[in-house]
């Protein structure tokens, strides 16, 4: 059974169709990234899956349950990492993590979780005094304390500095390695490429492409650009058989500054949402 199965999901706000027929299948243990520009329907879709929002139409099954009808036992299996929460400002990291652990039947050890997200040195600091990156790590701590089978991360690294992002990615990889199913939305293509087994691109409330980061939008089969420097300046040939092209070209001798490139995930993405 898939962790998430969505068919024909729709949601409108005051005449504006935010989600216009989304289908998704996410396997257990998979890391799945939803990409898309602002207003593409990412957050609305995810909030429906989390049980935070009603839907207008469509079938939704999350861990075998319809989120609109789900109860406590179902919520106990989820880990939701909020996007912009500023709660627990007057609780210390330690107090908050220990408190949230009490909600679950079989929580992780709070001290281990604090250590896992790298907040051991900040354990006695109040939530309101943490930096942006530390604050998000507290959000992750509260999201994983209940040993979730499925985690939702909505634009988790927005506003992070590069080092904090790398640390965060390592944490997500670790959770994925433990078998947690992860659904993340993001603006960052490198993030999707680094973390996701599969990605879907949402635009205008629909899935416009789906696949692995390596094959999305026909990326693997796209023409390659072979580029080198000759006495007449830079030369470029677009070809579906770059190996053959280079073999022919190199018969005349060494090719200076030779490169073979395929469209980056960013090139494919920008074409898809255009």
């Amino acid at each position: 059974m898939n962790a998430i199965r969505v068919r024909g999901l729709q949601k409108a706000y005051k005449g504006h169709q935010a989600v216009a027929g989304v289908d998704l299948d996410i396997a257990r243990g998979e890391v799945f990234a939803v990409l898309g520009p602002n207003g593409a329907g990412k957050t609305t879709s995810v909030e429906i899956l989390e049980g935070h929002r009603d839907r207008d139409a469509g079938e939704v099954s999350v861990l075998g349950t319809d989120p609109a009808k789900a109860g406590r036992e179902w919520r106990a299996k989820l880990g939701i990492v909020l996007q912009s929460a500023t709660d627990a400002a007057n609780l210390t990291v330690r107090e908050a993590v220990h408190h949230y652990a009490k909600y679950y039947a079989d929580p992780r050890d709070p001290e281990e979780v604090i250590d896992l997200v790298g907040l051991t040195e900040k354990a006695k600091s109040r939530g309101g005094t943490l930096s942006g990156g530390q604050r998000r790590r507290l959000d992750v701590a509260l999201g994983i304390i209940g040993r979730p089978e499925l985690m939702f991360l909505d634009e988790p690294t927005t506003g992070f500095d590069p080092e904090a992002r790398r640390q965060f990615w390592n944490l997500i990889k670790r959770l994925a390695a433990e078998g947690t199913t992860i659904l993340l939305t993001t603006h960052y293509l490198d993030e999707a490429e680094a973390l996701a087994d599969r990605v879907a691109v949402l635009a205008g409330g629909r899935v416009v492409a789906e696949g692995t980061p390596q094959t999305l939008g026909g990326r693997a089969h796209a023409d390659a650009a072979v580029r080198w420097l000759s006495d007449r300046g830079y030369q470029e040939i677009r070809t579906s058989e770059p190996t053959k092209t280079i073999a022919e070209l190199s018969r005349h001798g060494e090719l200076a500054e030779l490169t073979v490139t395929r469209p980056s995930l960013e090139d494919v993405y920008l074409e898809l949402i255009a």
Binding site: H52, A85, Y103, D106
Partner: protein, 265 residues
């Protein structure tokens, strides 16, 4: 797969209450405005207006009534709006914690903060205005149930009204306006006898008048002072009836209108 059962609603409620109190008393603005303001007002207004012991008794009683409405109606309403604004409610919605536990936590918060506020007020009243505290067990019993019913009914109405407010800033207006107006209509600042019939009638629809009347019955030097009430008696039965009715109205409103976030649905 876990086979262990989730923690009970009551024990989670108690844990919520402890966390709520911890957060509440760590915020200076709560200590200053919510808990201490009524005592400060008592000190200021009392110094100006109170000329004789009987008046001090009545004024202290009314201020205690107004004070617990401030901690329950305004204070709790504000705290729910803040929970919605900062993501507390959204986070809790994503956990297996039942809504009832959240509410038990809030009731604990409101009872403790109201009690602290009332004790502070009584200390000021006794030390500065020589107010006599109730001397019989019966009076304290009345104090107890008026306090409990007042706190519960006004808490529920405050939470229900908090659904209207989009932010803590607008909530301050939504909650303080009725509170301040009702203080004038309910015999806190102005004796009810001095009000025109129409205003007195408006005031008598709301809990504040009845809470204050209940406390005045407890603090009055003797029962002869009941003639100063609008009906000429303490009307304890009616107090219980009105506050009970508001509690039921509040429960219905909260269960129908409660929102977990500003953007849900």
């Amino acid at each position: 797969m876990t086979t262990a059962t989730l923690p009970g609603t009551l024990s989670l409620g108690l844990s919520r209450g402890a966390t709520e109190l911890r957060e509440f008393f760590r915020q200076k603005e709560n200590l200053i405005f919510t808990v201490s303001l009524p005592a400060l007002l008592m000190l200021l207004l009392g110094t100006v207006y109170v000329k004789e012991p009987a008046a001090a008794q009545m004024f202290a009683a009314s201020m205690i009534g107004a004070g617990i409405i401030s901690t329950s109606f305004v204070g709790l309403g504000m705290s729910v709006v803040a929970d919605r604004e900062d993501g507390t409610l959204k986070r809790l919605r994503g956990t297996p914690m039942p809504f009832t536990s959240y509410f038990i936590g809030k009731i604990i918060l409101v009872f403790v903060s109201s009690l602290v506020e009332a004790v502070l007020l009584m200390v000021v009243a006794v030390l500065r205005f020589d107010v006599e505290l109730p001397s019989t067990a019966g009076k304290w019993l009345t104090f107890g149930w008026v306090f409990a019913l007042g706190v519960i009914s006004c808490s529920l109405i405050g939470v229900a009204l908090s659904s209207i407010a989009k932010s803590t800033r607008s909530a301050a207006g939504v909650l303080n306006l009725p509170y301040i107006v009702l203080q004038f209509l309910s015999g806190v600042f102005i004796m009810q006898m001095a009000l025109p019939e129409s205003l007195r009638t408006v005031g008598s629809f709301f809990p504040l008048k009845w809470v204050c009347q209940g406390f005045r019955s407890v603090f009055a030097l003797n029962d002869d002072y009941a003639v100063m009430e609008a009906a000429g008696s303490w009307e304890l039965g009616k107090i219980a009836l009105v506050l009970g009715a508001w509690t039921i109205v509040g429960l219905v409103l909260v269960s129908r209108t409660f929102k977990w976030s500003n953007t849900s649905r």
